[in-house]
């Protein structure tokens, strides 16, 4: 009986070994097949929407500590240690698909001034009348609380600091419009006024203080008003942000949320986050920290998915919540070794340009200027990973969006700030226009800027946005195009004919391409351009479709 058992076990063991060997054989076959099937372009390329396929209802609130976030970003290099990594959430035509992070708005389509000024505000502003405070505010520099309006809608309320009326609330309003137009999820935000007599405290209201949550008192609310700027009529100007249901914490500018199954691209490799290097420079959004972001669970069909917001973009332009910007903000990280050491050992004789910068005096704007602004020198308070990984193609992508703001767009956005001083409104708009143009001039010269490729009749058309905007002259020698057939499986390209040159922003399709060829590639570069990087070709891929050639890829 014992020997039978041994024989049986030996048989079973052999069977398992055989199964493993068989699986290995299958695996090698599968690998081979995969190798062969690995194509450059899938049938659904270019993707227009990044899918969220998994239910994320189990995500938990992810709170990120302010100090640890700041120190780790300042003194360590969080995220992928590799450098010059191409953004990983872009589609094959070098664009960012819509997603739970980003929605293509300005540049991708014609955004009207009305749309821009409405921004994220899809519903009614807060009901006038009585406000009921339901929670105290224990984080952030701005004074405020959470309150319910007469219709029961919950809003996050922020006031201007006592010594800086108008500036913080105006900046937050304007920035919210600009960042919504740029494509970010923004909380619905309105400008309003509050009269203390109309504010009552809910008996159940609480405030977190001294390590525990305690009952919120009328004294606490009075204290908020004491620390806020009052108008001459005794009212208080405030911005109110509609409470987003499903709050699950914040996102960081590196890695992914470990509990969000749909978050599969490291945040430092998301282009729309890298692009904040340019958008931040434009608006002086210095306070980039996890605490100024917001993740919320939302229903997407039958699934719950995490939607990612840039929650607090109020730290922009020339003002903070309680005072104008510090002089070094936007010019140096909070800690930067080299300038610190130079100042230390030279008794402060090492002087940076920002220390001598002049600002137009305006209390509602603070320290914000465009004349000496250098986009590439701009710095947020801490070097967050996404910004450190931004490459020339990411900056170019972002610059196109900044350039897409017309003067009218900018002036309309600034008007939503409700500045009480017309000179302040004009000043801010003028500075934003000035900074927009500098961003365009800078980043469109760093890379071949050809864009908006399309098949039009028998030609591929494109646009040189630097030339169109008047930032640069057209290349003296025009554009040189080199055509090739392209094998989507192997990646091999075979030239078709000789390079052709065009003075215009269009190149002829090849006269004949064998019917067996499904893809063609054209490499377009500028000849004798005003900026050397324009000589590096942009590769454009077309796929044969029933009605002709169709754009499927753009590589810079």
């Amino acid at each position: 009986m014992a020997s039978n058992m041994i024989q049986r076990r030996v048989k079973h063991a052999l069977a398992v070994v055989a199964a493993i060997v068989a699986v290995q054989v299958v695996r090698s076959d599968v690998s081979g097949v995969l190798q062969a099937q690995r194509v450059k372009f899938f049938s659904d390329d270019p993707l227009t929407r990044e899918p969220d396929t998994q239910d994320a209802s189990k995500v938990q609130v992810m709170e990120i500590g302010l100090s640890s976030d700041l120190l780790l970003n300042l003194f360590t290099k969080l995220g992928d240690p590799s450098t010059n990594v191409k953004a990983r959430n872009i589609n094959t035509i070098d664009e960012v698909p819509d997603s739970s992070w980003f929605n293509n708005r300005i540049y991708s389509r014609d955004l009207t001034v009305d749309e821009l000024t409405r921004g994220a505000n899809a519903s009614e502003p807060p009901a006038s009348g009585r406000w009921t405070v339901i929670r105290g505010k224990s984080t952030g520099a701005a004074t405020g609380f959470t309150a319910r309006d007469e219709k029961g809608q919950v809003w996050f309320v922020s006031f201007d600091g006592r010594d800086i009326p108008v500036a913080p609330t105006a900046a937050a309003m304007v920035a919210t419009k600009l960042f919504w137009a740029l494509g970010y999820n923004q909380v619905e935000t309105h400008l309003t006024t509050m009269v203390p007599e109309n504010v009552v405290v809910d008996p159940q209201a609480t405030l977190r203080a001294h390590g525990k949550r305690r009952t919120l008192t009328t004294d606490d609310v009075e204290d908020v008003f004491k620390r806020s700027a009052a108008s001459a009529d005794g009212s208080y100007r405030a911005i109110v942000g509609r409470a987003v249901p499903g709050y699950v914490g914040h996102f960081r500018y590196f890695g992914t949320r470990p509990d969000d199954p749909n978050d599969v691209v490291d945040h430092e490799h998301r282009r729309e986050l890298r692009a904040l290097k340019v958008f931040g420079a434009w608006t002086n959004l210095v306070d980039m920290k996890a605490g100024n972001t917001l993740d919320a669970l939302e229903k997407n069909g039958s699934l719950s998915v995490v939607k990612h917001y840039l929650q607090d973009v109020g730290s922009t332009f020339g003002t903070g919540a309680n005072a104008p910007r510090e002089d070094d903000e936007g010019h140096e990280y909070l800690y930067q070794g080299a300038p610190l050491a130079k100042r230390l050992f030279t008794f402060g004789l090492f002087v940076r340009p920002w220390q001598k910068m002049d600002y137009v005096e305006n209390a509602e704007i603070g320290k914000f200027e465009g004349t000496e602004f250098e986009p590439e020198d701009w710095k947020p308070r801490v070097p967050v990973a996404a910004l450190r990984h931004a490459r020339a193609d990411d900056n170019f992508w972002a610059a196109l969006r900044v350039m897409a703001f017309t003067d009218d767009h900018i002036r309309a956005a600034v008007k939503t700030g409700g500045y009480t001083d017309p000179a302040a409104e004009k000043l801010l708009a003028d500075i934003l226009i000035q900074r927009r143009d500098k961003i365009g001039k800078t980043y469109l010269s760093r890379i071949n800027p050809l864009t908006r490729f399309a098949v039009s009749g028998d030609a591929v058309t494109f646009e040189n946005p630097a030339v169109k905007a008047g930032y640069a002259t057209a290349p003296k020698g025009g554009y040189e195009a080199t055509w090739a057939t392209f094998n989507n499986g192997t990646g091999e390209a075979s030239p078709i004919g000789s390079p052709i040159t065009s003075a215009d922003e269009r190149v002829q399709l090849p006269a004949s391409v064998p019917g067996s060829e499904q893809f063609v590639k054209v490499s377009i570069r500028a000849v004798d351009p005003p900026h050397a990087p324009w000589s590096t070709p942009v590769n454009v891929y077309l796929r044969r479709a029933a009605d002709g050639w169709q754009l499927v890829g753009v590589e810079r």
Binding site: V23, F42, R343, W354
Partner: protein, 399 residues
């Protein structure tokens, strides 16, 4: 349990382990992304802050809104006592008043036990109060004699003090301060301890007024100031201009005196705060020439914040004058100031001698590690006119 080929789940597991999840061919980009998301869903775990994040979180909360309960205490018990450590227990009530009891022990054996309440705890209200009772014991306080000439040398005295006080504070405007205080100070002096000889072996009641006495005072103070500094503990701009009148009424009628303190501080930032010129002038004077002031309550110069090249209490007499100037440069706005400083001052028996002639001086340099509103650590080297550098390690601003 025997492993058999009749166990299909085992085979499936083996297949799953051997064939990578991502190796299943996708025909669309969307499928490729979906496969990654499916693989992550299988391994999704809630975010767990690491040890550093947890510690920083606790520190952050303790700094912004300290919790009720026990806390580590540190500070200074009495001038010259050195760094003190201890433990305290505090409780905040709804009106943001703090109730606190703490004990401290210094490296020189000084002791302190104090119970008190302050409202509001962060000192930012328009009205406030500060009440406390306590006891301190300083067994080796240095005494160098009266005047600027130098006595027979350092002697030590042992001072114990029992105290109780109540101060009312008012801030009519953001920059103005009014303060009134009433308190009881009971002193007990004994033979000094430490390496230096006890005070009675080198000094007598003429060279150390009140030697051997242990007076008690009812103290009343009134003060007014304009203060537009960022904070008394750290500021790179603004100024302080204040005057305080104190009346010490001896419960035994042996002593009793009135003292007037006047202080002017001005911080002048240059080139967007790249440099700061900080200036201070301070005068302390006993108002009535007939008042008798015990030696341990005389105005004094010399310490980590006054005439920094000299030890604590090196110069004492009935009147004092101090001037300080600092050239500060700011390598990092949020954390580090450097400074070169010069202090000059004198103490005199007669107020008429309180002028700018024959000042003793010292100079030095140092680094200050600070937060936006407080100096966390000040490390300085200061040298008197003649003599060696002294090392100063302190918390708080010199002025």
């Amino acid at each position: 349990m025997a492993l058999t080929m009749r166990s299909p789940s085992i085979l499936a597991l083996a297949l799953c382990l051997i064939v990578p999840a991502g190796a299943v061919a996708q025909e669309t980009r969307a499928e490729e992304i979906a496969a990654k998301q499916k693989a992550k869903a299988a391994a999704a775990t809630p975010y767990q802050p690491n040890a550093f994040e947890r510690v920083m979180g606790r520190l952050e909360e303790g700094f912004v809104s300290p919790p009720n309960g026990w806390y580590p205490a540190f500070g200074s018990i009495y001038p010259g006592g050195g760094l003190s450590l201890g433990v305290g227990y505090r409780h905040f009530d709804r009106r943001e008043a703090i109730w606190d009891v703490h004990g401290l022990y210094s490296i020189k054996g000084y002791k302190l036990l104090e119970f008190g309440t302050i409202s509001p705890w962060d000192g930012r209200g328009r009205f406030g109060y500060d009440a406390k009772v306590g006891w301190l014991d300083a067994p080796q306080v240095a005494y160098y004699g009266l005047g600027m000439g130098g006595g027979p040398g350092r002697a030590n005295y042992h001072l114990s003090q029992t105290y109780a006080s109540f101060a009312a504070l008012m801030r009519p405007t953001p920059w103005t301060r009014l303060r009134g205080e009433i308190g009881y100070d009971g002193f007990d002096t004994q033979e000094g301890r430490g390496r230096a000889p006890s005070i009675e072996t080198l000094y007598n009641p003429l060279t150390a007024p009140g030697l051997g006495s242990s007076p008690s005072f009812i103290r009343t103070e009134a003060g007014a100031a304009i203060d537009w500094r960022t904070s008394p503990s750290y500021s790179a701009k603004g100024g302080f201009y204040g005057v305080t009148l104190a009346n010490y009424s001896d419960t035994g009628d042996d002593f009793g005196f009135k003292r007037l303190d006047a202080e002017l501080i001005q911080h002048v930032p240059l080139l967007r705060g790249n440099w700061v010129i900080s200036l201070r002038g301070r005068m302390q004077t006993i108002l009535d020439d007939n008042d008798v002031v015990p030696y341990f309550l005389l105005p004094q110069l010399g310490s980590g914040s006054t005439l920094r090249g000299y030890p604590t209490g090196f110069f004492r007499d009935r009147h004092s004058l101090l001037t300080s100037a600092e050239f500060r440069w700011i390598p990092n706005r949020l954390a580090l100031d450097m400074a070169i400083f010069y202090d000059a001052g004198k103490v005199t028996r007669d107020r008429s001698d309180l002028d700018f002639s024959e000042l003793e001086s010292s100079w030095g340099f140092g680094a200050r590690f600070h937060a936006p509103r407080s100096t966390i650590l000040r490390i300085e080297a200061a040298r008197p006119k003649t003599g060696k550098f002294r090392l100063i390690v302190a918390t708080g601003a010199a002025f």
